[in-house]
Symmetry: C2
Subunit: 512 residues, 2 copies
C-alpha cells in the first residue's frame, strides 16, 4: 500500500465520501488510488474555486466534511477566496493539496510555490505530509479537525503519495462543542429579566427551527429583539418557522437596526461591525453606550445555551403564525416581485444559495411564506461563492428530489462561471436565476457614497454592458439548458418548469 | 488632494498608463481618483486572475509595468496564480490592493483576510500604506521596484485613500541591470575554448534577436550547443531569426536533450530541473558528472555578457539562413499540421500566447519559418495564464495593427474564460485558437506514467466530455465572434479571415 492508498482508506474510514477535484500532475498517484479503492464520489470541477466553494456548501447541508483535491501552489491559491468564505461560515473541509516531491522542492521547479504560506490563514489545521507511513495518521487528524467545523489542509508531497509503506489512520472520535457554563446563562437571564432594551444576535448553528423558536419565545417573554448576522452560513426558514430578519448590509440601516439597544447578547455571533468602514461612520454597529454580552461564543453550542436560558427563565413555547404563502407576482420586475414569486413557487425542502448582492439583497424578507427551505449565504463576502456553492449543494442532495435554487448576481457569477459545467455533467437539480442588471450595482451605490457622479472612466469599471453578457449562451456552452426572462410571467413559467424537471436550468432574468 | 489622488498622480508621473482593474467597495476612492485625473487607461476585467495575467503580458511586451487594481483579501487571492506566473517570468507589475481601513481591520469584518500574507511570496516589494501623506512615496517606491522586473504590491487601506493630505511621490531613477564581471566572462570563455561538450542555456531577456545571433555565432565557433529554458516569458522568433529550441517538457526527453554535456553555462537561466519529480528519475536535468557555470544570473544582464563573451572570443557574426515559410497544411488535423498552418499564416509582428499544453507543445518547433513574431509562454506553469495574457497583450498592442494569437488548450481555458469579455469590450485584435481535445490530455499522459489504466473514477477526473464544452457559444456569451473548425481547410480559412478583420475572434479547433 502506498501513501496515497493509505490516504484514501483513511478518508473513507473517517466518513469522507465526496471529493471535489481539480487534479494536476503532482496528484496522479492520489487519483490512481481513488480509482483503485471504491467508496469516494469524485466530482470534477473545472477550476479550484468551484471545488472549494462546493465543499463549503456540502458541509453546510450535511454537517460533515467533503474533501477537495487541489493542485499544488497556484491550484490552492485559486481555491482561497471560497476557502475564506468557508472559514467565515465555519465550514469543515478537508483540503488535499498536491505538492512537489520532498527532495524536488529545494530545486525550485517553476510550479513550486509557497503552498503552506497561502493555506495558513484559512486553515485551522495545516500540515505537510513528510512520509508515506504517516500520511494515514495525518489524514485522520485532518478529518478530525474538519469535523469540528474548520478547514483542514493536508499538503501531500508527491513522494509521500507514491512511496510504499502507507498505513491507514484510525478515525478519531468527535468532540462535542462546549456548552456555556451556568453562570453565563444566569448572567444573560438577569439581563433579559431587567427589562432594559436587549437584543439577541444569532449566528452560526443557532439558525435552526428549534433554536429560532426558543429565541422567539424568549423575545416574546422578555421584550428583547432578535436579529441574525448580516450573512449567514445556513438558516432554516420558510412557512411555519420563525421569520427572523438579518442585520441590514448598508451601514446606515445597520446602525439604525441596533439603535437603542442597551444589551447586545451574542449567540454564536461576533460583535457586529460594518462590512466596510466609511469616513465619519462608526465601525461597531451597536450604540456606543450599549454593552456586548456573550451567551455563546462562535465555538460553543449556542442552541444548548438558548435551551438552558429558556429553561432557566421558564419561558413557554409560543405558536408561530405561518406567514401566508403568496401567489406568484405578475407585475413589473422588481426585487419584491421576484422574491414573492420565489416564495410562491419554491419547492419544499429546497436549498437556496444567495449571492444576489444588490438586486437580491431584500429577497429573504419576502420569502418567509415560502415552503420550508434552507437559505445559504456567502458569509465571507468573497465574490464568486454562489455558483460553486450551488454545485456542492446539488451534490449534497443529489437523488433526494430536493432542488437547489441559486439566486445569483450577474457580475459575481463571472468569477466562477465554469461551475455550470459540473452541474451539467452531474445533472444536478439546480436552478440558477441570474439577476442581470448588467452593472456592478453595489459598487455604483458605493461610488455614490464617495460623493461624486461616475464619469466615463469610473463607469468603464462599474458597468457590465458593452457587450452584454448572454448567460443563456454561456450556460449552453457548458451543457446547461436555459432561457431568458424579461417579464414576471416568463420568470414564473420558467421557475415552475425548472422545478418540475430533472437536472440544471439557468434563467437569465433581465432586471433592467 | 486625498491619498488616492496622490497615488494616481504618482503612478502617472512614474510612467504607469494602464490599470487592469477589478474593483470592490474598499477601492471606490481610488476609482474616483482615476475618474477625476486623466491619464490612465482603466481596463475592466471580470475577475482578478484576468487582471494579473494581463498585467504580466503587458510587461513582457512593453518592458514597463502596468498596474492592477484588486479587491482586498480574496480579490488578491484570485490573482495569485497569474502573479506566480509573472514572478517566474520576472515581470514587473504594480498591484494596488484595497483593504479594510486601518481602524476597521482589528474589528475583523467578514471580508478581512491576510492580504499581506497572501501577497508576500509573489511580491519582491510589499508594503501596506499607513497614511494618506505617504501613499505617494509608497507608490513611487512600488513602481521603482516593479521597473526592475518584480511584482510590487501596495496594499491600500481605505482610509489612506480617502483621507486628505496626499503628496505625490517623485519618480525614482531606474537602476541598470548589473553586468557580470570580466573574470566570469573569462572563465566561461576558457570553458568554451576547451572544446569539452558545453551548452549555453538561455533564459530571461536573452531570447532576443541580437543575443540569439551572438549565442548562435558562439556555438558555431566553439561547438557548444544552445537551448532555451522549457517555458519562456518572451522569445523573439520567426523567419530570419536564429531557430533556437527549448528544453523539452517530458522528463525523459529533457534528460536526453542535456545528455553528454560536460559544461552547462547558464545565461539568465536557472539550473534546469524536472517540472515535476518522478519516482526513480533525477531532479536535475544535466548529467551527474556535468558542471554548472553561470555566465549571468537571472538578475544580471545576460545579453551584455553574451556580447562581452563574443568580443573576448573574437567570434564573428554568422548569417542566419531563414527557415522557409511553409504553405498552410491541408492534411489531417495534427500538431505539426496546425503549427505549419500557423507558420504559414501568422502576420508579421504578431504576439503568440502559448498555453497549448499537450497538443500545442511542439508548435514552436514548426514555426521558425513564420513571419517574425514574439512568443510568450506560461513560465510558472500555473494553469489559466493564456487567455488573461492574451488580454494584456491585446491592450499592449492596441491600435498598432499587431495581432495577438492565443494558442489555448481547452481545459486550461476554463480557468479564466471570463477574459474573453474584455477582448470584446476593448475590441482587441486577438485570435484565440482553442485546441479542443476534450480531455486533460497532459494528465492522461502522466497517469499512464503511474503505471495504471484509468478506470471510471480516474476518467471522471481526466476527461472533459459529457458534456462537451462549446467554446463558440461561450465566446458568443461574452460578445466574441467565433467558429468551429473540424478540418485543416476550415482552420486555414478562419485564421486568414480573423487576421484580416479587426477585433477578437475565437476558433474552436476539434483535435479529436
Amino acid at each position: 500500500m502506498n501513501g496515497a492508498e493509505s490516504l484514501v482508506h483513511t478518508l473513507i474510514a473517517c466518513g469522507i465520501d465526496t471529493v471535489f477535484a481539480n487534479p494536476g500532475t503532482s496528484e496522479m498517484h492520489f487519483v490512481a488510488a481513488l480509482d483503485r479503492i471504491p467508496g469516494i464520489n469524485c466530482v470534477l470541477c473545472l477550476d479550484e474555486t468551484v471545488a472549494s466553494g462546493a465543499a463549503d456548501a456540502f458541509w453546510r447541508i450535511n454537517r460533515r466534511p467533503a474533501a477537495t483535491l487541489l493542485h499544488c501552489g497556484p491550484g490552492l491559491a485559486n481555491a482561497l477566496a471560497n476557502l475564506h468564505n468557508a472559514r467565515r461560515g465555519r465550514s469543515g473541509i478537508v483540503n488535499i493539496v498536491g505538492d512537489q516531491a520532498t527532495d524536488h522542492r529545494p530545486l525550485d521547479a517553476p510550479l513550486t510555490a509557497d503552498t503552506e504560506g497561502w493555506a495558513r490563514s484559512v486553515s485551522g489545521f495545516l500540515r505537510t505530509a513528510t512520509h508515506a507511513a504517516t500520511v494515514g495518521r495525518d489524514a485522520a487528524d485532518a478529518v478530525a479537525a474538519a469535523r469540528t467545523g474548520t478547514i483542514a489542509t493536508l499538503i501531500l508531497p508527491a513522494d509521500t503519495a507514491w512511496t510504499a509503506g502507507g498505513v491507514p489512520g484510525a478515525p478519531i472520535k468527535d468532540l462535542a462543542r462546549p456548552i456555556p457554563d451556568p453562570a453565563t446563562i444566569a448572567d444573560v437571564a438577569a439581563i433579559l429579566r431587567s427589562g432594559e432594551p436587549a437584543m439577541l444576535l444569532l449566528g452560526g448553528r443557532t439558525l435552526n427551527d428549534a433554536s429560532l423558536r426558543q429565541a422567539t419565545a424568549l423575545a416574546a417573554a422578555t421584550g428583547a429583539k432578535i436579529l441574525a448576522e448580516v450573512f449567514n452560513a445556513r438558516m432554516e426558514r420558510g412557512q411555519g418557522r420563525p421569520p427572523i430578519e438579518r442585520i441590514p448590509y448598508p451601514i446606515d440601516a445597520a446602525i439604525a437596526a441596533l439603535a437603542g439597544i442597551r444589551h447586545l447578547i451574542l449567540v454564536e455571533a461576533k460583535p457586529p461591525v460594518g462590512f466596510f468602514a466609511y469616513p465619519g461612520k462608526p465601525g461597531p454597529l451597536w450604540p456606543p453606550d450599549g454593552t456586548v454580552h456573550t451567551l455563546a461564543t462562535i465555538d460553543q453550542n449556542g442552541s444548548a445555551a438558548l435551551a438552558a436560558l429558556t429553561a432557566l427563565l421558564e419561558v413557554p413555547p409560543i405558536p408561530i403564525v405561518p406567514t401566508p404563502r403568496p401567489a406568484p407576482d405578475t407585475g413589473k420586475i422588481a426585487p419584491e416581485a421576484v422574491a414573492t414569486s420565489l416564495a410562491a413557487l419554491l419547492p419544499a425542502d429546497s436549498i437556496v444559495i444567495d449571492e444576489g448582492i444588490s438586486f437580491g439583497r431584500g429577497f429573504s424578507r419576502f420569502t418567509h411564506g415560502a415552503a420550508p427551505h434552507l437559505w445559504l449565504q456567502v458569509p465571507g463576502g468573497a465574490i464568486g461563492g454562489g455558483l460553486p456553492m450551488a454545485i456542492g449543494a446539488g451534490v449534497a442532495v443529489a437523488g433526494s428530489g430536493r432542488r437547489v435554487v441559486a439566486i445569483q448576481a450577474d457580475g459575481s457569477a463571472m468569477y466562477s462561471i465554469a461551475a455550470l459545467w459540473t452541474a451539467a455533467r452531474r445533472q444536478l437539480d439546480v436552478t440558477v436565476i441570474i439577476l442581470a442588471n448588467r452593472k456592478y450595482a453595489i459598487l455604483l451605490h458605493e461610488y455614490a457614497g464617495v460623493g461624486a457622479n461616475p464619469g466615463r472612466t469610473a463607469m468603464d469599471m462599474l458597468d457590465l454592458g458593452n457587450p452584454d453578457l448572454d448567460f443563456v449562451k454561456l450556460a449552453a456552452g457548458m451543457g446547461v439548458a436555459g432561457a431568458q426572462a424579461t417579464t414576471m410571467a416568463a420568470l414564473n413559467e420558467l421557475l415552475t418548469a425548472s422545478f418540475e424537471r430533472k437536472g440544471p436550468f439557468l434563467i437569465e432574468l433581465l432586471t433592467i
